[in-house]
């Protein structure tokens, strides 16, 4: 006999990058802010464009569009500020997005072994299948291997 995990709706924020939509768990989102001045200084982390100042915090701007849709963003409408975990530490990162964001409740399907590390799950919403993003695999961090959310094995009741 196999027990299937109960259906559980979770909150996600849908973000738009060009023609595609992606999702992040809502509990990872700090805020959505209009584009502000990016401060740039010399560094060698190509995924980071620079930093913005937000509520007294200095927040790195990571354009993830190159990795997700194959091209960088020419225009941006907002910065979605999300919490990125580095081990026990959490920091804000600003993700440029090209359109409005939407909060939805949906059931997440866990990723398979063949999915990219940046996929932490899948949503089905309004006729679209949407990747739920794993920020740790998508944004840079020091000396770490991006954790991949391994799909839990279905519970199996043994006689």
């Amino acid at each position: 006999m196999t027990l299937i995990a109960e259906t559980e709706l979770q909150s996600f924020v849908l973000l738009r990058l060009g023609d595609r939509r992606f999702a992040l768990a809502a509990n990872q989102i700090a805020e959505l802010v209009p584009p502000s001045r990016i401060f740039r200084f010399p560094h060698h982390t190509s995924e980071v464009e620079g930093v913005i100042l937000r509520r007294g915090r200095i927040v790195p701007v990571c354009d993830v569009a190159e990795k997700l849709i194959g091209k960088g963003l020419k225009s941006r409408r907002f910065y979605l500020i999300a919490q990125r975990c580095y081990g026990a530490q959490t920091e804000w990162v600003a993700l440029p997005v090209t359109g409005d964001c939407e909060l939805i409740n949906a059931e997440m399907t866990l990723p398979s072994d063949t999915d990219s590390p940046h996929v932490s799950g899948w949503l089905s919403h309004a006729g679209d299948v949407i990747e739920v993003l794993n920020l740790a695999a998508l944004t840079p961090g020091p000396n770490e291997i991006a954790p991949v959310t391994a799909p839990p094995q279905p519970l199996e009741a043994r006689p």
């Binding site: 401060f39 200084f41 010399p42 560094h43 060698h44 982390t45 995924e47 980071v48 930093v51 100042l53 007294g56 915090r57 200095i58 927040v59 790195p60 990571c62 990125r84 580095y86 530490q89 920091e91 990162v93 944004t139 840079p140 961090g141 020091p142 000396n143």
Partner: protein, 185 residues
């Protein structure tokens, strides 16, 4: 009954910093880390050329007492477009002198934020952190981040080789001129 004494909030700790430019880019360094500020012209007599093929950012060395102080071109260090430097910072408790374009101003820093962890390459060794000043963000450099221990080792070795070569050359010249160096010494 005595009136309540006003609550005193401790004054925020501040650090004096020097804002300086390199190829148009603004940086900050703690003023306590700067031992001397000199014009590049004043170096020309004291500096000796040094060539380490893997370290293009260092072209000169200055003797200061027992130590050799290596002159680092800040623009090359940061990978910025070259610009003619006008000033040199001699950095305290390091063996580095830094070629910069100019000083912007002195300022007080009340908060230094650690470099966000998203920055994960050499820059982690370059900066102490970032500070917000006048609605702008300025990287605060690490004085000992301009030359790594490995780079200092390479430069010292190169300097030692050059000194040995120079000693041999002088000895050969003296031998050709018929001077007995053992007596001369």
């Amino acid at each position: 009954m005595r009136p309540n004494s006003p609550i005193k909030t401790p004054a925020p700790r501040t650090e004096q910093i020097i804002l300086f430019r390199v190829s148009g880019q603004l940086f900050a360094v703690s003023s306590a880390s700067v031992q001397e500020v000199r014009g590049v012209d004043s170096l020309s007599g004291a500096a000796k050329e040094i060539s380490q093929p893997t370290l293009h950012k260092v072209k000169h060395v200055v003797r200061r007492g027992e130590n050799s102080v290596y002159v680092v071109n800040a623009a090359m260090h940061f990978g910025l477009p070259p610009a003619p430097p006008a000033l040199v910072f001699v950095l305290r408790r390091t063996r580095t002198a830094l070629l910069i374009d100019g000083i912007e101003k002195m300022a007080s820093m009340t908060r230094l934020q650690a470099l966000p962890l998203a920055f994960c390459h050499e820059e982690r060794g370059w900066y102490r952190g970032l500070t917000a000043l006048d609605q702008s963000v300025v990287p605060v450099v690490k004085p000992d981040g301009f030359l790594t221990p490995d780079e200092l080792f390479l430069l010292d070795a190169s300097l030692s080789q050059e000194a040995d070569a120079e000693a041999i050359r002088v000895a050969e010249e003296n031998a050709q001129g018929g001077i007995d160096t053992s007596i001369a010494q």
